[in-house]
């Protein structure tokens, strides 16, 4: 009986693959790929819920009684196009990060940020000591 739930398990497995890529990889492009897989798993979740056994595509026809649910199709259809548009914004940010930092590895970006911050605090400290001397 439990086999009737296998579509959800496929979705969960795909979603976890995407989730793992997002949290375990430092490369920003790979993170975006992970998000894409995560996103697709949600699409598959919706579409598989809309499926009715022995039903057909939701285009009205004489002599057909059983259609799959059109509502999730509508939601996902628009979500796919919105998804590619937002992915493009993510990729654009990646390009700008590469230009600013020279790297798209999370660890490199973090260490560079830390260096800048240390330099700032040292500057501030030296200014404080200078003002104390004068």
């Amino acid at each position: 009986m439990l086999m009737g739930l296998y579509n959800y398990w496929v979705v969960v497995v795909l979603m976890m693959i995407g989730f793992y890529i997002v949290i375990a990889h430092g490369n920003l492009i790979k993170k975006i790929v992970g998000l894409t897989i995560f996103q697709t798993s949600v699409f598959i979740f919706y579409i598989s819920m809309a499926k009715v056994k022995d039903g057909t595509a939701p285009i009205l026809e004489q002599g057909t009684e059983l259609y799959s649910n059109p509502l999730p199709h509508v939601l996902i259809l628009t979500a796919i196009v919105v998804g590619i548009a937002t992915t493009a914004v993510g990729l654009a940010l990646t390009v700008r990060i590469k230009e600013a930092y020279g790297s798209i590895e999370e660890s490199d970006i973090q260490s560079q940020d830390n260096l800048i911050q240390e330099a700032h605090t040292q500057d501030a400290q030296s200014q404080v000591t200078r003002s104390q001397v004068t």
Partner: protein, 315 residues
């Protein structure tokens, strides 16, 4: 996998596979969109970005064990949650009880469009779709703000010479593409206007139209494509698409109906519905096609700019 080129290629294959999966699930409209977006546009964008950011990944990994534990726990909880879900393909699942029967039984009298997905997308849930179109438009503006470069006139001739030398090798591809492009464009228009009767609509048509232009750009070079497609014109069209959609809503308000209530657009409610759906599908198609083109041209333009800067440094 360390090679990002292979990763992008696999993403494309994954997109195509999920499109065929959607066909198997009777979601033909969705499959249409996913095939052109997942297998075409997203792969292409990834390639352009990879040429700018470098092909290989840093081999250092950070604590995969901790991530794995988190993922396994979350996955286990989600699987536990699915145990209460209705079975796959069950016709009496809660999702099929709420509004779906009305869409299936009454939409022929209320909207008069054979394709249920179109009638739900463009009529019952038109307000939703308006929001989505605005999101796409905003994403286009975002990419424009992040990546747009001011081009200088004198660079154009230099690019031309580079392009000519680069693309002469692909003679067969160029000729075949030249023959294919009119058909792709025609097909996208067919998808746009036939969306009432078969799978299709503004979203799919916009994406297919944009991918024909991408194909042209790939084989004939960016500067040639820029000469064919005026950059400021497609920005204008993107805005006009959203505006057209909103205007249909405002006109129906002024005619005494609700926002995006097409029944009042014409004396006959069904004719009004048809008119409204036609207009807003046009708006959607225009916006989607031109936003996709804006995104692609800006990525490619950025990449070209970087290459030129490198060449200048060398010389």
């Amino acid at each position: 996998m360390k090679d990002l080129f292979a990763v992008a290629m696999l993403v494309g294959i994954y997109g195509l596979l999920s499109a065929s999966f959607f066909v198997a699930m009777d979601a033909v409209d969705v499959a249409f969109t996913e095939a052109s977006v997942g297998a075409g546009i997203s792969t292409l964008l990834m390639f352009v970005v990879i040429t700018m950011t470098g092909r290989s990944e840093d081999p250092v990994r950070h604590k995969p064990l901790l991530a794995l534990i988190v993922v396994v726990i979350t996955g286990g909880l989600l699987i536990y949650g699915t145990l209460d879900m209705p079975y796959f393909g069950a016709a009496d699942a809660p999702i099929h009880q709420h509004v779906a029967p009305r869409y299936i039984n009454d939409s022929m009298q209320e909207v008069g469009v054979i394709n249920l997905v179109t009638s739900v997308l463009a009529s019952y849930r038109a307000f939703d779709t308006f929001g989505e179109v605005v999101v796409i438009f905003t994403a286009g503006i975002g990419v424009l703000a992040l990546l747009s470069v001011v081009r200088r006139r004198d660079d154009d001739e230099l690019i031309d010479s580079v392009n000519d030398s680069m693309h002469e090798q692909h003679l067969i591809l160029r000729i075949v593409t030249k023959m294919l492009i009119p058909f792709i464009l025609l097909f996208s228009l067919y998808v746009q206007f036939h969306g009432d009767f078969g799978p299709g609509g503004g979203f799919q048509a916009g994406v297919i139209f944009a991918s024909a232009i991408f194909l042209y750009t790939l084989l004939f070079g960016l500067s040639t494509a820029r000469r064919v497609i005026n950059q400021s014109l497609i920005r204008l069209i993107a805005a006009i698409g959203v505006l057209l959609y909103g205007c249909v809503g405002v006109v129906s308000l002024l005619n005494g109906g609700n926002f995006l209530d097409y029944n009042v657009l014409s004396s006959d409610p069904i004719a009004g519905q048809h008119l409204g759906i036609l207009l807003i599908e046009w708006g959607v198609g225009c916006t989607v096609a031109s936003v996709m083109m804006i995104i692609f041209f800006n990525f490619a333009g950025r990449q070209e700019e970087q290459q030129q800067a490198k060449e200048k440094e060398k010389s």
